[in-house]
Amino acid sequence: MQNPYLPYPVKIDEIITETEDKNLKTFKFVFINPADEQKFAYRAGQFAELSVTGKGEIPIGIASSPTEKGFVKFTVNKVGLVSSFLHNMKVGDVMGIRGPLGNSYPWDVLEGKNVVIIGGGFAFTTLRSSIIYMLDPVNRPKFRDINVIYGARTPGMLLYRDELAAWERRDDIHMHITVDATTDPDWKYNVGFVPTITEKKAPQADSDTYAIICGPPIMIKFTQPVLDKMGYGHDHIIMSLENRMKCGIGMCGRCNVGKEFVCKDGPVFTLAQLNTMPKEY
């Protein structure tokens, strides 16, 4: 019997401090047994349990894309016990990864469609995975217009800044980067909250346009009415939930929203689905 609780052993290959407050770090892992990389085949939008031996496990969205080979990447906010310990680990340290877990963004539905990505704060991790995946030369023809609205408090709080700049220079993806406020005279992108920029920059709704939103609850709360006003149907709005997790496979009982387990039936749900579920997240 395959033990779904047993993590694949990995080594930390690289650690990148992403934000000016140093609370977000990206960890690049390589599998100690190369064959495990195949077994870890994943889709953008899935997550994994990062297993810090002797401390515990935390569910973290996969930030690398299935099209990137030889490693997996996660961006971790320093919050409590496990994430703080992880922030103090070094390149070369051994730990584990368990997954991939959860469903993913609905790639079968999104094929042939316009995709609008709306992200805020550090909830941009699986959105990075999705963008890299869609921009892969093999995949790009499968999608129509791609718009990305991504905001953070300040320029220094944006994740993946080099990649954002590179995407800005491309013509097959429309980037709308924004910050709440800045004193930086060289800032050449938008200033304003994500809902405001969404209203200005997001394409009008139609049956072939889907929005994926990930961000802090407050951003989602104010962005949703904007999308409603623009005519986005609730089955065309896709979100990713978070709840406290342990097992990640629908067994330990804690992450449920109604009868759905965020870990196994989610974390990705359409707003239409969420409307039929208790608001317990």
């Binding site: 019997m1 395959q2 033990n3 779904p4 609780y5 047993l6 993590p7 052993p9 100690i32 297993s51 031996t53 002797g54 401390k55 515990g56 496990e57 919050v79 409590g80 994430s83 340290d93 051994v94 730990m95 584990g96 978070e242 709840n243 406290r244 342990k246 097992c247 496979i249 629908g250 067994m251 330990c252 009982g253 804690r254 992450c255 449920n256 929203v257 109604g258 009868k259 196994k264 039929t276 579920m277 208790p278 317990e280 997240y281």
Partner: protein
């Protein structure tokens, strides 16, 4: 399958013989209460018991159980890599488990044995068990099994069922595992011709003795969000002290936590029972808690058992009517009352004073 008659003077002898093949567990009286305990040489199950205070679920899902071991010493090979701990697969038998507690295993199995994932700990333990059930001739006043998908002579989930017929026991094998156990006991396999009628008679007397009932027929068609928003949760939860007794004693509660426990440079990843009654169960690292108030947690317990489970598996409620949570709750919260309230809830009729 056929029923054998066991002379009560032969019973203990047979039980003793099976110990050469099986590790046995059975009801044993400790102070006032009965518990399921290992039966060593010469120890017999106390067949005069009603039901155990805590359910025997711990024999499949222990309160605390090691999952993996590891070492943190960088000088050792394989440091920080989790290793599986070999599981005990030797045959075990529970003697005298009540039908409700056995059928609870089937209900919990839906959680641990899924098309996508199989829980190796739960399944290994469950598969190594033979369940020799004990029909209830005299149900307690808090039992409501007959309306909770179960019953005092319920056979589903058991490998054999034992019936106390006064001067003798009648034992009916229900599966091959049950047959094998009976074989190993070496009881004379006489098959009395009146056995089936005797069992039917005792069964119908026992079923009639079940005095309390729940209605569950409308749960499926209730709207989840309307039940969730029903006005009665605050009132139900008012006196609850979130002690978790209800969930720990329940044979159909399975929630658990996973923790790493270090001893110097070595350690084990453990899993421990947890409870939806505790705030930490769902607390996010950010401090946000989707079930932050007591009433949210009480609602979660009842909604899970009586609505979410019903909808998820279309196989009845997540309760076998054993009545433990009713007997043990320090503030007398009664699932029968809550179930009936949920079942008969009519949001249209509920006009709250504004």
């Amino acid at each position: 399958m056929k029923v054998i008659s066991i002379d009560k003077t032969e019973w203990a002898n047979g039980i003793e013989k099976t110990k050469s093949i099986y590790r046995l567990f059975g009801p044993v009286k400790e102070n006032t209460w009965h518990s399921f305990m290992p039966l060593g040489p010469g120890e017999q199950p106390d067949m005069a018991y009603g039901n155990s205070r805590l359910s025997p679920k711990f024999l499949v899902h222990p309160q605390t159980e090691p999952m993996f071991e590891y070492n943190l010493d960088e000088k050792q090979a394989d440091h920080h890599v989790l290793k599986e701990i070999p599981k005990d697969v030797s045959p075990k038998a529970i003697i005298g488990i009540r039908p409700c507690d056995a059928s609870a295993f089937l209900l919990v199995k839906r959680n641990f044995d899924t098309p996508t994932y199989k829980d190796p700990y739960w399944l290994t333990a469950y598969n190594s068990l033979t369940l020799i059930g004990y029909a209830c001739n005299q149900p307690c006043s808090t039992c409501f099994c007959t309306t909770a998908g179960c019953g005092p002579f319920h056979e589903e989930g058991l490998d054999a069922i034992l019936v106390d017929a006064g001067d003798r026991y009648l034992l009916k094998a229900l599966t091959e595992k049950g047959e094998a156990y009976i074989q190993s006991a070496g009881w004379a396999t006489s098959a009395p011709s009146d056995a089936d009628q005797s069992i039917e008679k005792l069964k119908s007397t026992a079923e009639k003795a079940i005095a309390s009932h729940v209605s569950t027929d409308k749960l499926r068609n209730q709207s989840t969000t309307q039940l969730y928003d029903a006005p009665f949760w605050e009132e139900i939860a008012f006196s609850c002290i979130n002690c978790g007794t209800c969930t720990y004693s329940c044979p159909t509660c399975w929630c658990f936590d996973i923790q790493d426990e270090n001893h110097g440079k070595c350690g084990v990843r453990m899993r421990n029972w947890d409870s939806c009654m505790y705030p930490l169960f769902s607390l996010h690292g950010t401090g946000h808690n989707p079930r932050g108030a007591k009433a949210h947690r009480v609602r979660q317990r009842f909604m899970h058992k009586l609505k979410y489970y019903v909808d998820k598996y279309d196989n009845g409620i997540q309760c076998v009517g054993c009545g433990r949570c009713i007997r043990l709750c320090p503030v007398n919260i009664d699932i029968r009352k809550v179930c009936n309230q949920m079942n008969s809830y009519d949001p249209a009729a509920c006009v709250c004073p504004v």
